[in-house]
């Protein structure tokens, strides 16, 4: 039988011939049935500081069990993890860890949460969903580290078992997404709006790539969109680009560009703007948007000082967006 299947998980809606895989490489048509070949087979599983995701307003200072399978539904030319995200499963190495095994590991290592990260959990959707559901039942929190390139129905279904989502907003135009990521921006924006509407804790990251998305208007447009559609409270992380994968010809992002982006985003009304992938004195800390008091001091992935009192500024009492315990 040569029955084609159509995968409706992500906006690519791949039509897959028998024996072939979709664009993500891990969802395969086997005898007319869509199969995921990575369910229960993470290629990487590690305990990380939660600040590495980066998530700065979600259980700061805790460790998080982090896992990934190979595969990704986007193909960013600058991908830092391309060796696993763009790998074929048949060329990769993985361990057998079914969902209940992941939960057991989180418990064993006293990790209060599980991150679906490194590649994109949309590519291993069923594994992430089933593990999240079990994790919830065991009292664990679930974190998606994703590009948010998913169709609304499955995305909302996944959000039902998700506590926090760190979503990449890589640029503000379809042109940028098409050229550098093989996607489009609108589904990502809709995923962000849906996540906030469903009460999931959201933090946004934007990788600033010299000459491609580092202009003042790029930064203002991105910041305005976040403020207008998600709210001033949503933390935004500007991340430093390093030459990687198929984008070796561009230089790393200068620190001044990142600091300037942070200033612009704050001028546009965002309360919590950070600079990452590089050491930055002020860009790593959380300040009260009301009285400007230093609330959380960080150095790299380490929380040096947390002055919050029950999620509020100890001086002016302003409630700070986040999940603090």
């Amino acid at each position: 039988m040569n029955q084609k299947v159509q995968c409706e998980l992500c906006p690519k809606t791949c039509i897959i011939s028998s024996g072939q895989s979709g664009d993500c490489r891990v969802r395969v048509n086997i005898d007319g049935v869509l199969r995921t070949v990575v369910y229960g087979y993470p290629c990487s599983i590690n305990i990380d500081p939660i600040e590495k995701k980066p998530l700065f307003h979600f259980l700061p200072g805790t460790q998080i069990l982090s896992l990934a399978t190979v595969g990704c539904n986007l193909h960013c030319l600058n991908c830092q993890n391309w060796e696993i995200s763009q790998a074929n499963p048949e060329d990769s190495t993985a361990s057998l860890v079914p969902p209940e095994g992941v939960v057991a590991l989180a418990k064993q290592y006293k990790s209060p949460s599980i991150a679906y990260t490194y590649t994109d959990p949309i590519a291993y959707y069923e594994y992430a969903y089933d593990t999240s559901r079990l994790g919830n039942q065991a009292g664990l929190r679930n974190v998606l580290v994703t590009a948010g390139y998913c169709n609304p129905k499955p995305w909302k279904h996944l959000l039902e078992v998700t506590d926090a989502a760190r979503v990449d907003l890589k640029g503000m135009s379809d042109d940028f997404y098409r050229k550098f990521c093989s996607g489009t921006v609108r589904p990502v924006q809709q995923c962000l709006i849906d996540a906030v509407a469903m009460g999931v804790h959201v933090e946004v990251i934007n990788l600033i790539i010299p000459t491609l998305n580092d202009s003042e208007s790029d930064i203002r447009q991105l910041s305005r969109w976040i403020r207008s559609n998600l709210g001033s409270d949503i933390p935004l992380h500007f991340s430093r680009f390093y030459p990687q994968y198929k984008m070796q010809h561009l230089p790393p992002t200068p620190l001044e560009t990142l600091d300037s982006a942070r200033q612009i985003a704050m001028e546009e009304g965002l309360y919590y703007v950070y600079v990452g992938n590089i050491r930055s004195r002020q860009g790593e800390n959380t300040y009260c948007p009301g009285c400007k008091k230093l609330l959380i001091e960080r150095q790299g992935y380490v929380v040096m000082k947390n002055n919050l009192k029950d999620g509020c500024c100890p001086d002016c009492g302003k409630k700070i967006y986040g999940v603090w315990k």
């Binding site: 040569n2 029955q3 084609k4 299947v5 159509q6 995968c7 409706e8 998980l9 039509i15 897959i16 969802r27 395969v28 086997i30 007319g32 049935v33 869509l34 199969r35 995921t36 070949v37 990575v38 369910y39 229960g40 087979y41 990487s44 599983i45 590690n46 305990i47 990380d48 590495k52 995701k53 069990l65 982090s66 990934a68 190979v70 830092q80 993890n81 696993i84 074929n88 499963p89 048949e90 060329d91 990769s92 190495t93 993985a94 361990s95 057998l96 860890v97 590991l105 290592y109 990260t117 490194y118 959707y125 069923e126 594994y127 580290v145 129905k153 499955p154």
Partner: protein
């Protein structure tokens, strides 16, 4: 040819066309899936879990 046999032939021909069309459409039109079913056997190599407390090189 009587009217009855003519109508019978038309009916038979239409049914044949409909069934063939449906079979052809079923082959050409993809079956839609939202959720993929797990495959029990990994297509790549398997390894035992390494020390999960060591720092990974992967970003995120």
């Amino acid at each position: 040819m009587t009217r009855r046999s003519f109508l019978q032939k038309i009916l038979a021909a239409s049914s044949t066309i409909l069934v063939a069309g449906w079979a052809l459409a079923k082959t050409v039109m993809p079956r839609r899936f939202l959720r993929a079913k797990p495959l029990s056997k990994y297509p790549g190599r398997l390894k035992t879990i390494a020390d999960i407390t060591s720092q990974t090189k992967w970003s995120g």
